[in-house]
Symmetry: D2
Subunit: 264 residues, 4 copies
Amino acid sequence: MTRKAMPISSEMGWSSVDRILVRGYDLCDDIIGKLNLGDMAYLEITGRLPSEAESTMFNAILVTLVEHGLTPMAIAARLTYLGAPESLQSAVAAGLCGMGTTFAGTAEGAARVLHETLADNPEQSIEVMSDDIVSRYRSAKTSIPGIGHNLHKPQDPRATRLFKVAEEHGFSGRYVKLMKGIADAATRQFGKDLPVNATGAIGALCCELGISWKAARGIAVMGRSVGLVGHLVEEQGNPIAKEVWLRTEEEAHDNAQHEEESAP
Amino acid sequence: MTRKAMPISSEMGWSSVDRILVRGYDLCDDIIGKLNLGDMAYLEITGRLPSEAESTMFNAILVTLVEHGLTPMAIAARLTYLGAPESLQSAVAAGLCGMGTTFAGTAEGAARVLHETLADNPEQSIEVMSDDIVSRYRSAKTSIPGIGHNLHKPQDPRATRLFKVAEEHGFSGRYVKLMKGIADAATRQFGKDLPVNATGAIGALCCELGISWKAARGIAVMGRSVGLVGHLVEEQGNPIAKEVWLRTEEEAHDNAQHEEESAP
Amino acid sequence: MTRKAMPISSEMGWSSVDRILVRGYDLCDDIIGKLNLGDMAYLEITGRLPSEAESTMFNAILVTLVEHGLTPMAIAARLTYLGAPESLQSAVAAGLCGMGTTFAGTAEGAARVLHETLADNPEQSIEVMSDDIVSRYRSAKTSIPGIGHNLHKPQDPRATRLFKVAEEHGFSGRYVKLMKGIADAATRQFGKDLPVNATGAIGALCCELGISWKAARGIAVMGRSVGLVGHLVEEQGNPIAKEVWLRTEEEAHDNAQHEEESAP
Amino acid sequence: MTRKAMPISSEMGWSSVDRILVRGYDLCDDIIGKLNLGDMAYLEITGRLPSEAESTMFNAILVTLVEHGLTPMAIAARLTYLGAPESLQSAVAAGLCGMGTTFAGTAEGAARVLHETLADNPEQSIEVMSDDIVSRYRSAKTSIPGIGHNLHKPQDPRATRLFKVAEEHGFSGRYVKLMKGIADAATRQFGKDLPVNATGAIGALCCELGISWKAARGIAVMGRSVGLVGHLVEEQGNPIAKEVWLRTEEEAHDNAQHEEESAP
């Protein structure tokens, strides 16, 4: 073997007999009883404690993504729990696996397009950049990340609220302006209401907080994990997975039998 | 088909055109910008907002479980991300799948034994109940959930700290007393330091907060999901998974080659 | 650090520039074009190639577990694919996570009880051992692994068929006899039809093949992975996940709205 | 609610009291004891039984992907099993989650490019199509799916072997020719050995078998699931996960301590 080994290091945390350090902070002295879960998430992602404004903004982002009712992810988690009630963690894992391009991918995609556009065009006006972005997606016939919602029209109330929190706490900068500009350009070019949606607002606000676009999906995952646990705790007391399963199986069975009977 | 269909219902949340409700609260008016992620988790689990004391206690529990360095879960998540960097959510899922009996199971197990013991023996003294519990596990030769730690001795500093937060906020009730009683009885019966560990403290404090023992594992999952995302964001900038993989594969290869060469 | 490092080794396989070895066999010369997937699975589990009889028996076990229609696992996999169509592997993973105590656990449990009973009581009659086993589960009020089926009565046709294949190929030994004895004892003691089910037959036949009871669950996983992929390929052409999701969400929404309206 | 419900149907399988049907075949009469796992996989994917040639070819593809030693997936599965030994299925799931763009994605990508190229250019010569494909990837600076291997040079022996099996069984058609043509064009254009690799051969042979490119990733998943179970069964007898974990954690700890000590 001739490969030169690379060192393995991590700044996340370590333990000794009487101490646990997390990103340089003492878990017992500095964290337990002092930080809330959102601030802890901020520490994990950035390596430092948030200011009060950052704490409010970051927690606002995190709580937005926790709960959205009986999503495909929540139903998949509940069905998994039905089969493996001894492994609640695996039911959450099953739910998370469905958090792909459609949902978490758009927060990431929005953060990325904002980050790259503003890094590449420091001098350009918001309007020109916005029109360019929309034209590019339009000609590629792909949807613009963070824009439009099939239910929430003409505004996504979560985006409206998040932008208000951002304004109140000093996070309404260029990324927010560009995100709103993209929505305006899309509405103009497509001739219908295409507002910033929740994931678009979250993508923009991750950028405002200085969080890498690559981490944006992770922030969605943090929030949704909390929500999936919530659904499983409800499932413990008010189970619905078995009913979803039986109805699905029975209808498919009835349709399949029918086809067999009508065969020559 | 003769089965009578059961209704499907959920109180977690639902959306209309201009509103998202979560457990009866308006996401935009009552939650975003007002609740931190730990309070949101409390709402998801219990259906109501926490008092200030409950918020401090519950967040203290949640942050305790977020980070413990390069655990098997964190390494598994990083290796998964190496193979599927387009699916960060699946890497978190892979990490969570390893949160089984050894770790999350003990928080659940501790909460369960405390809950069942105090429900069944309302009149008995802590000492008698504790001795009974330890004797039972001792004769079954299985470890007592929430007791003992291979590194943190003679005390687990996280348990010490959590119990202090509990005392300061009015959560140092019978469950905490029984958990400490079990540690004392174990130390006496086995003749060596067997302190309450972090998962034992968390099990007891879930009971004090009125949270079902069945949900205790879920609370561990909420915290650890945040930590796994943290590790993956570090992996983006300071990757170690490839090195862990290559070293493991190379050593196994070297050992296998050696065996082949030394064969007759 | 004072811990003595242990060597890392694996006999599963390794590669050089022009060869891939799997458990000592050359992948290109000995395996590709010569072994079927079930024989490859046998090689992976046991480290050697199966005889013709072993191949037939082991493949019979494997194919039994592949497909059982729209199970909770299959529906969970399809819902996951809806959210993350770019990660088919994660949708299979989500489905597998639900293969817990209820299903895969019983094949393992049956193999374990047969293995341990015959190892501990080499001299006892099948009838006495069977009655003891059933009495033990009966007094513990837990179900006997591998016994009984809510749909397939008075016989599970899969068990009947597997036992026939076993007889034809010389695998109808003591483990099969004990499994059948347990079903007879259960039917006697409970006074109703309690046949050997598919997982009971599989547990017994794993034992007959000399496969560890700890691996029995893995054999179920191998088969079901194939079936879950099958469901996802059907989902690509005939999607049902979105309909399952929407119906579930809508009904929960309707029920929740109704409750709100009827509130004082 | 005004949405029109769509029917739910599935042709995968269903059960009645005394029968289990799988894609129209009787599980007990037609499948158990008659089909091997690879043929069953073929039935699941295509809805019909394979001919002898198809069975040989399809099983050859499947077994190629089962085992490749201590891959990141295999190590992740073993680490997960360490934390949750009661859930072998979740350890396999964790391993599968890492089967992303790098590995399974290239089989899919190769099948897709072959399928789309030949569908769009029925009249063009292999050489012209190959040169166009390579030029396109070259100018996009992305790697060509199915081409090149960092270890296996100048040929990937698995591809060589698979193509030989294809030739012997009548599957060496236009897709195989185009795949080889792409490798030749890549070798010419880049001026170094760029052979067809195993996933490239598999992509081409899926096309020859008439399997949709969208299913190619699923075929990789079927094979690798078998291999991951194999690794976990080895882990039961020859555990290495704990050693991988401890070494990783200790080295990171040592490096972190060092940095702390050297801080001013």
